[in-house]
């Protein structure tokens, strides 16, 4: 007998059930298909404009910095200004996200390079597919548009998110993923990112910049 059969057999014996029980199966299928939402905190259940304000407040609470611009065309200048202000090199590592392709990077001195990060990039730029107001959380997905290595290797991570992509709660963010990638499947990696990397492992002192980015800067568009 394989370990699989042994373990599943032991589970069924412990529960005193047999594998042919149609009723039990129907219950699990109903939950997997129905994806009930459970208890949703009131905190994020707000009109959309207030959700955006809450998102910004919560993101700043966990040491992200946030700037809001009116339209996508203003993103390059906002990013350039951030880099200048923090004395960071005017370079950006990005993927192939079409959102960035249409932006007027020529208005700035920023030098762009494309593809996944190999650890030698000072600043990475990503486009988040979603945001969660409840905790100021960004939702990033893997793929050529936004390689996952950009989220973790550069010391500074700049993330662009459209205000319309911010939702109140995690469940709404999951719904958006189901809509985009189909039910029952996800991209290889989905990152919920809430603030820059940190550690409290030395005497419970919270320090920013453990293994991931030391700085997380969010540009909200619209």
């Amino acid at each position: 007998m394989s370990d699989r059969d042994i373990v599943l057999g032991k589970v069924r014996r412990a529960l005193a059930v047999d594998s042919g029980d149609v009723g039990r199966r129907a219950i699990t299928i109903a939950r997997l298909e129905g994806t009930p939402r459970g208890v949703i905190p009131a905190r994020g259940q707000l009109p959309h404009e207030e959700q955006v304000a809450l998102f910004i407040k919560m993101a700043e609470k966990v040491s992200s910095s946030v700037v809001r611009v009116g339209e996508t065309g203003e993103v390059p200048r906002a990013v350039a200004e951030y880099l200048r202000k923090h004395n960071l090199p005017a370079t950006l590592r990005i993927g192939d996200d079409p959102l960035f392709a249409d932006m007027p990077w020529g208005e700035t001195q920023i030098e762009m390079s494309h593809g996944p990060s190999d650890g030698n990039d000072a600043v990475g730029l990503s486009h988040a597919v979603g945001g969660v107001a409840e905790t100021g959380t960004l939702v990033l997905t893997s793929g050529p548009d936004n390689p996952t290595t950009i989220n973790f290797l550069p010391e500074t991570h700049v993330v662009v998110i459209k205000a319309t992509e911010i939702a109140g709660d995690y469940e709404s963010a999951f719904d958006a993923l189901r809509e985009r990638y189909g039910r029952n499947s996800l991209p290889r990696t989905v990152n919920f990112v809430t603030g820059p990397s940190r550690s409290g492992d030395i005497e419970q002192t919270i320090l920013l910049g453990a293994h991931g980015p030391r700085r997380l800067h969010i540009v909200v568009v619209g």
Binding site: R31, T35, S142, N191, F192, T194, S197, R198, I202
Partner: protein, 473 residues
């Protein structure tokens, strides 16, 4: 790892006398307890979420076989491989064979209690593979050849100075006169040393906080980002998780993550909650080429069919140990195996036997704080009581305790005699202490009077007072 649970009492004595440890433990109380209380107070739905999370886990455990199968199907559809392991040895063998097939030299590891449970690091070293712990706390204790003393803060027993000493000893290629007096400098040094290790690793191993049946996804919850670098940079990503990590849907994960970080560190949510599904896709420019999930039983199916079933709801947040007066006094190492604190007192006898770990469920004042803060509403004191019963049934309790209980039971079964005897004892103890009001030593109570005086009884027994009160009414 070496099991020292049988010498728990000696371990505890040493821990109490260890001044470095006592200083380090001072950070636990304010750091964890106050932060949790604040985060909980800011979420009015916290208790409703606890109920919801308890119900989700109970439902999942009652249908565990079916959710495991659903999880497997989805994961295979996404190109991942599933391996079941009935025992720790079988899990180690599966991991080793994957590593040997690709000729792996170095393996990076995200923090995983299951890897501790199966003794993975020692096993790797025996087979010529170098495991590198990448969580800062785990890295520190790996340098010191120690076991974790807390499930989310493995180096909580150490002071900054001890960390500095370990770094100076291990990182010999760095200038000896460098300044490491601040925690920031220690963190930066670990960051740069480990960055090279991340880049060089052939295999990355992580645990999982959840395995999601809806999508075939493993989820890790971290703050440092080390778990992510562990799983996206090497060619192969291996996830090691136990059967009870199965969670039906993403929405169910959403319910539980609202409890997990608040209970653990007092954060609303940890910095990184990462959902991984299969290996990299054909169009992906990064991510692992292979993705394996090892689903471990190691005795959990026995718990599932026993009175200890509720312990399988545990999400390893550490709140029970943070709030435990015993843990606060002696730290995690004294417990002598992988899982310390109240949850350790319930799990350890299951894994290594109640004959080895019988002291642990007895190391509790039954104050109930662990149950009061447990996000999954696990009745920890009750589960410890079950172990005490088993220990007594199997005649493992110390002779003094057994005779003492027998002596007490003789009287307790004879109410009149009991009342007469206690009345008499109270009078004698009360009279003999007139003027002092306390005893500095008492026969048969040396364990108590060695550390504090025994207060002399004043007046009547509880039953006398109770009876008087009833009459008055």
């Amino acid at each position: 790892m070496d099991i020292t649970s049988p010498t728990f009492k000696q371990n505890a004595r040493e821990a109490l006398a260890d001044r470095q440890l006592q200083r380090a433990l001072g950070h636990v109380r304010a750091g964890f307890i106050d932060k949790r209380a604040k985060a909980v107070a800011e979420l009015p739905e916290f208790d409703a979420l606890r109920d919801a999370a308890r119900d989700i886990k109970n439902h999942t455990l009652a249908h565990l076989d079916l959710y495991l199968e659903a999880y497997e199907d989805r994961l295979r559809a996404a190109g991942g491989e599933v391996h079941y392991a009935e025992t720790a040895a079988s899990a180690r063998d599966i991991i080793l064979s994957i590593c040997q097939r690709i000729d792996a030299r170095t393996v990076t590891k995200g923090k995983s209690m299951i890897a501790e449970e199966i003794g993975l690091n020692e096993f790797f070293e025996e087979h010529g593979i170098a495991p590198v712990e990448t969580d800062l706390g785990e890295y520190i204790i790996q340098l010191r050849h120690e076991a974790p003393s807390h499930i989310i803060a493995p180096a909580v027993h150490l002071t900054k100075d001890q960390v500095e000493a370990s770094f100076r000893e291990a990182h010999t290629s760095l200038p000896p006169d460098r300044d490491l007096s601040e925690p920031t400098e220690l963190l930066n040094e670990a960051r740069s040393v480990l960055r090279q290790r991340f880049m060089a690793a052939d295999v990355g191993i992580t645990g999982a906080n959840f395995l999601v049946a809806e999508t075939g996804t493993s989820v890790i919850v971290t703050n440092e980002g080390n778990g992510d670098l562990t799983q996206i940079l090497p060619r192969v990503h291996i996830v090691i998780a136990s059967i009870e990590k199965i969670t039906p849907t993403l929405n169910d994960v959403g319910q539980i993550i609202r409890l997990l970080s608040r209970s653990a560190t007092g954060q609303d949510i940890s910095v990184y909650t990462t959902f991984s599904t299969g290996p990299r896709r054909p169009e992906d420019p990064d991510g692992p080429e292979e993705y394996h999930v090892i689903i471990l039983d190691n005795g959990r199916t026995e718990m599932l069919g026993s009175e200890f079933k509720e312990a399988l709801r545990c999400i390893r947040c550490g709140a029970c140990m943070n709030h435990c007066p015993i843990y606060q006094a002696i730290g995690g190492h004294a417990y002598g195996w992988v899982y310390p604190g109240p949850i350790g007192a319930v799990l350890t006898p299951e894994f290594i036997g109640v004959d080895q770990a019988g002291n642990l469920p007895n190391a509790s004042t039954f104050c109930g704080r662990c149950e009061a803060v447990c996000p999954m509403r696990i009745p920890l004191p009750n589960l410890m009581r079950h172990w005490r019963e088993r220990e007594f049934e199997r005649h493992l309790s110390p002779a003094a305790a057994r005779y003492g209980l027998g002596f007490w039971a003789f009287f307790a079964k004879r109410p009149r005699l009991y009342q007469w005897a206690t009345r008499w004892a109270m009078r004698v103890l009360g009279n003999r202490a007139i003027g002092k009001g306390r005893y500095a030593s008492l026969p048969l109570a040396g364990g108590w009077t060695k550390y504090r005086d025994f207060p002399a009884p004043e007046g009547r027994t509880f039953q006398e007072m109770w009876a008087a009160k009833r009459v008055a009414r």
